[in-house]
Subunit: 340 residues, 2 copies
């Protein structure tokens, strides 16, 4: 078993226990039974079996705990409140993103808005947002006050970046054309900011110097960008997207993913078709191939590999030689090779 | 000029300057021009004239500053970040409430969702929520770290209560019948929690003892309940609601306001009509009178007066003898007598 899998087995249950402490054991949440049910459902705590399928990968909290352990073997448990906070924040953003994108399903089940309607879903997202902060206050049990306050401030700037990136993502949907530069700005906020903050929070709580915190924040940023590009790749050429008439393809949603934005700059046959109007399901297979011919797939792969290399370089700069440092390297390479 | 009006003139511009510092001067928000425009519009900063009409009454931040000044004449400026935070939080909740209620207008203008669509509006609300926390961090400039952390925790529990109350409010819309007890639980979270927190935050920053903080939190809670009952009264018998075919009446929206919930318990003619199905515009005048006949108006007035008395009693317990203490009394009486 690799270092990563050993840590994963140990950390995963602790992450969910901390999240459950914050959400299910909250004295106020107990007063609002309906709200508690909605949150349990979205967080995948309403089922006993197949939890990992309905809960998502919990990548971000693992990054918090691994960076913390990489800086100081004995500090990962101290970072659990921050790990819970980033995962709750990520899940809040999913509830609202699903409403904003009108996505009917997530992790094989109905989305919250689809099940309870927009009004209750928007509000449940707001509750989860608040509970992410509640989690951070638990750092008072394991860290001095100045570290708690620094963590809160890192977390908060991240929220501003996250909603800023989401603003761009929604705005781009109404535009057929965007530049590569617009794409980078969007994913910087939408994806890279929270993964970067996860690494930075872990480092801060692990007692890292400012210099080391910055190296690890930079690691998280590069990893986040590589992660998003891989997501974009899967959205066009992944298992769910590649069938001839797939409804899962990003081509149908008009999403401004990296391969598409790249092909737009080429102004070739793909760009011409794209600008002519919405893509139909029967065109998905042809256009996915056309993107390959026009070099968009190779460009996306090169970019994902480039950012993965940069992430590994930042890790090397940080010079983390223990098992947790090793596990961070493994995680980085695994994320590039994932197929879902 | 009364004490209240003198304080109001001095404090109002300082509140908006602090809010603008947080929102408009935020280094990250500057990167998202579209988002900045949406927030400026909602906060009423896009117009030079008639600002007070499009900005709302700014009651909550005034309560923060007045309680702070009532505890210590020299501390109200130190409380400005908390004042800005509660008003930003209130405004975040309005953006989301308007989507949840499908309200097309607020303060005489189109609501944010009506102007920009649901997706961008949900996200702009999330940004404003985050910025409310950003405001609180400015307390580091005027308060020791433990007070900053205590303020953050009071603020955060309030957010949980606020979204809990909103959950009930939305849930009740699908029920024709609720008990009085359900009503009290809803407004406790939806309205009283934030006004109570406003008073408590002011007291905390003003250097009040725990005992005094509790008295003032209790003052805010009673004031908040009285405020909501008065709102309910105006929603049926106020200027906008009282015309025969008004579209502004809470009777049409099926809202579970206090007079209606009271009349439901009476099980008289009003309850019978209510349970039979949605109210039509031409029935509004008749039903508003029927509510008076069945004692619902008097009940609401007695309750509003009762909670106002309790608020004044808590203020008397707090024994605040300076001008700001006097202004809090005036504000309490003014809110009971307002007609919009």
């Amino acid at each position: 078993m690799t270092s990563f899998h050993q840590f994963h087995q140990q950390m995963q249950p602790a992450i969910d226990l901390t999240m459950q402490r914050v959400v299910l054991s909250h004295p106020l949440i107990g007063q609002y039974q309906g709200l508690k049910e909605m949150l349990s459902y979205h967080l995948g705590w309403d089922v006993e079996l197949n939890r990992s399928e309905v809960q998502g990968k919990r990548i971000r909290p693992l990054i918090v705990l691994l960076t913390s352990a990489a800086c100081n073997d004995d500090r990962w448990e101290a970072a659990l409140p921050a790990a819970a906070a980033v995962e709750l924040l990520h899940n809040f953003s999913l509830i609202h993103d699903d409403i904003e994108d009108r996505s009917p399903s997530r992790r094989g089940r109905e989305t919250v808005w689809k099940k309870w309607g927009d009004a209750l879903a928007i509000n449940a997202g707001d509750t989860l947002f608040t509970l992410a902060y509640e989690a951070l206050y638990l750092l008072q049990e394991t860290c001095p006050e100045n570290i708690v306050l620094q963590s809160l401030k890192i977390f908060n700037s991240t929220c501003v970046r996250l909603t800023g990136g989401q603003h761009l993502d929604i705005s781009y949907e109404n535009e057929r054309w965007i530049e590569l530069e617009d794409y980078w700005k969007m994913i910087e906020g939408k994806t890279a900011a929270l993964i970067s903050a996860s690494a930075q929070l872990g480092a801060l709580i692990g007692g890292a110097s400012n210099r080391l915190q910055q190296d690890l924040a930079e690691f998280g940023r590069s990893l986040g960008i590589a992660f998003q590009i891989q997501d974009d790749w899967l959205g066009i050429w992944g298992n769910a997207a590649q069938t001839g008439k797939s409804t899962e393809s990003d081509l149908l949603a008009g999403k401004k993913s990296l391969p598409i934005v790249f092909a737009l700059q080429k102004k070739g046959e793909f760009a011409e078709r794209w600008l002519a109007g919405p893509i139909q399901p029967e065109e998905v297979g042809y256009l996915a191939n056309l993107l390959i011919e026009e070099g968009a797939q190779r460009f996306a792969e090169e970019q994902a590999e480039g950012y993965t290399r940069r992430a590994l370089q930042s890790l090397a700069n940080a010079n983390l030689t223990n098992n947790a440092g090793q596990a961070l390297q493994e995680l980085t390479l695994m994320l590039l090779k994932r197929n879902s």
